[in-house]
Assembly symmetry: none
Amino acid sequence: MRILLIEDERELAEALSAALGKHGIVTDHTMHLADAVELTRQNLYDAILLDRRLPDGEGLSFIPQLRRTGKDTPIIVLTALNEPKERVQGLDLGSDDYLGKPFLVEELMARLRAVLRRPPNLAELKITAGRMVIDPLHLSVTVDDAPLDLPRRELLVLAALAKRKEKTVLRATLEAAVYNYEEEIQSNALDAHISRLRRRLAEAGAEVSIHNIRGVGYLLKEE
Amino acid sequence: MRILLIEDERELAEALSAALGKHGIVTDHTMHLADAVELTRQNLYDAILLDRRLPDGEGLSFIPQLRRTGKDTPIIVLTALNEPKERVQGLDLGSDDYLGKPFLVEELMARLRAVLRRPPNLAELKITAGRMVIDPLHLSVTVDDAPLDLPRRELLVLAALAKRKEKTVLRATLEAAVYNYEEEIQSNALDAHISRLRRRLAEAGAEVSIHNIRGVGYLLKEE
DNA sequence: AGCTCCGCAATGCTGCCGCAACCCTTGTGG
DNA sequence: CCACAAGGGTTGCGGCAGCATTGCGGAGCT
């Protein structure tokens, strides 16, 4: 899972990134609305966390901007402006939830889950493929109910493939599922993950196979 | 076990928190109904203790509010309003118990246990793993019927792991099981608990093992 | 006063993962 | 049928982040 955090307090942003990371969430961070517009062009994010007071304007103005482009990515507004009137204002503009600062990370996680549980994201809850069941929220994989320990990055790759099983997933999509913009990679790290994943899945008898589509991407097939 | 205390007398709240803490209960405290609604969204609590006279309204009004969201978290009303008529009122609104102030902490504990013993919490009653049996209500662990004394925090960690045995438990989840949000920790306290738990469990011959999933969390396995 | 609990921090260790070297596969043109 | 190139697969290596362990000291309890 990957989210965009639009927030101008650097410390809060870093703490949040770290905390969300513990839940297996990849976070991109920007302080400016203008950047946010660019970043959301490619439908990369499962959700957006939005501050209201930002250096280049009122955060809320971002919501209609995004909706106008036809995207219904869930938005959760994070703000110190937490009067009832302000909450209504935020929700009416099309955000999906509104959370007053300060808040508990646990609460944010719960709201994220709630917001993602709504259709059409419902499919994300559990993914099955072959003998595997993947729970992306709890970061767990089981084969025939036996837990399978996977390193974090391999797990993210697997989840991205399984979410679109039997369909080709672009290389770029996979890379986006595993890395945020600050951790650019320059080698065949992704290929290496795939290679190790294949071995582990075979050993565990998962009955799935990962195929390469030359020059395009990868594809996970049930056997 | 973790509960939410909704109570406006700070002194009483602190005393209760401390007393419950000795029984291994992690307590979050709020003085406002509005906060309580937010906090309960995450289904984090095993029970709720509710005062009636609160600065922002009658505590009882919280009960239907919570039930409407589909939660059946047990609620125990704590109040000085202890006339028979008032008791009936509280129970009819959907609380699970009604306790007049002043009361003994021991009585509260007994009522908590009673309320948690009812279905659908029944599954929580005893957890077995390896040769261990854990009773989260009485905070006891036995190995082959021999009692095993564990420090409070280690016990909370163990219970959280055992409740989801054979499944990975996120670091963040474990931290939430042991600490309330006023006691943030900054070091590897959790790791230390795990380390000491491992030694104690091995010495006691519990036949369980705690595995680390790097970058994700921990997992308790039977051997 | 003596005990345990427990957060903290220093230390050493493990294994993830990016990297790059090398090999294999596939496709194209002659 | 072969030569060549380009993309993919595999694997060992090394850096380093995350984990395990443990001693210390403060706090709380008896």
